[in-house]
């Protein structure tokens, strides 16, 4: 299969993830959508690496995975802290800065 097909698939997955971020209001589910977007980017990186015939894209995808792991750890810890304070994981409830 040509890399173009993989790139289009990654575009579709990325868009689905972006819509998920916009639509969902539970912070955990927003995080999951962000993970989906990161995965879609990784797929594009790997496809472009194959297209270019070198491995640099795979290295970048590897770094993306590392950063995503760090992001998930800190993000979920923040989520736990917010939940402990407000007893809710909904992003609508954390609106103190609005007023």
């Amino acid at each position: 299969m040509s890399p173009a097909a993989y790139v289009f698939l990654s575009v579709i997955l990325f868009v689905i993830g972006a819509v998920g971020v916009l639509v969902r209001r539970n912070a955990i589910l927003i995080f999951m959508s962000v993970e989906l977007m990161l995965n879609a980017c990784n797929l594009a990186f790997v496809s472009f690496a194959r297209l270019q015939g070198n491995l640099d894209g795979q290295v970048v995808a590897f770094f993306v995975m590392v950063v995503a792991a760090a992001e998930v750890v800190v993000g979920l810890a923040i989520l736990m802290a917010i939940y402990r304070a407000r007893k809710s994981a909904s992003v609508d409830d954390a609106s103190l800065l609005k007023y």
Binding site: I12, G17, R50, L51, M65, V73, V74, L76, R84, A89
Partner: protein, 283 residues
């Protein structure tokens, strides 16, 4: 199995899968991934979302293997589906399981506009990429001819050695950050074992709550336990059971009435039994 091993090796030269085989595999995985991703943003339960995300990640890892990236395929399974998703599930179990999302929109027309924005973004990206000419990959390049792991290691420890070192700082910072954020200040003095024992005695109830069905006429969980003095106690019945009766519009007392009738019957039987054995019923 041979096919899987072949996939894991990335073939020689990245992807020299049989074209038809590769194509069929791609379409199966693509349909699986897109439908799972769609289900992920539509399903209400957080746990189902996590499972759908796992499906997407696993199909992506198979795609990495098909594209000559076996190392990334394994890292995807181990790090993403193994570690990250487990972390998600932990947090879902801790906070999100029964906080089902409210279906009411707080921003008017949010879903509609989000869908429109998504369609717009998709159109933009697809048109943009469609204009770029993405050709076919070179048949055999030196990077893909050697072992994938060796090639990656060479790149990571030569060209990308500084980013690689910086990621270690990032990971340490993330671990520290998680510890700091998860840390909770103690608001009161720490209870010693003596304090706990004293509080227990002061509460008036030394023994634990009677479990359901103990000394009751039935051993069903909804039967109140019978205390040593012969009275029954409702403390042994879980509140969830009474609540269930209320939810199902059943009379929670109805069962008790049947039970009382049974108690009378059993009492007469016990009296008969005591009479045949020739001893007094003490109770």
């Amino acid at each position: 199995m041979n096919h899987l091993l072949f996939l894991a090796n990335g073939g020689t030269g990245g992807t020299n899968l049989d074209p038809l085989y590769g194509k069929a595999m791609f379409w199966i995985l693509a349909v699986l991934a897109v439908s799972a991703a769609l289900a992920m943003i539509l399903v209400r339960q957080a746990v189902h979302c996590a499972l759908m995300l796992a499906v997407v990640m696993l199909s992506l890892s198979a795609m990495y293997a098909m594209q000559g990236a076996p190392f990334l395929a394994f890292v995807q399974v181990i790090v993403y589906t193994g570690a990250v998703l487990m972390l998600f599930l932990f947090v879902v179990m801790l906070i999100g399981v029964n906080s089902a999302e409210a279906l009411k929109e707080t921003i008017r027309g949010q879903r509609l506009w989000a869908a429109l924005a998504g369609i717009g973004l998709a159109a933009l990206l697809i048109v943009g990429i469609g204009h770029a000419s993405i050709g076919n990959p070179p048949a055999q390049t030196s990077a893909y001819s050697t072992d994938n792991l060796t090639g990656l290691a060479k790149l990571i420890f030569t060209t990308y050695v500084y980013p690689f070192e910086i990621t270690s700082a990032l990971l340490i910072t993330a671990a520290l950050g998680a510890m700091v954020l998860a840390h909770r200040e103690r608001s009161g003095p720490k209870l010693t074992q003596r304090d706990i024992a004293r509080r227990k005695i002061e509460s008036g109830q030394v023994a634990p709550e009677p479990p359901p069905g103990v000394y009751a006429l039935h051993n069903a969980v909804d039967m109140p336990a019978m205390l040593p003095d012969g009275t029954t106690t409702n403390r042994s019945v879980s509140g969830a059971i009474t609540q269930r009766d209320v939810d199902l519009h059943r009379d929670p007392e109805g069962n008790v009435l049947t039970d009382l009738a049974a108690e009378d019957r059993i009492k007469s039987e016990r009296a008969l039994e005591a009479g045949t054995l020739g001893r007094e019923e003490t109770q």
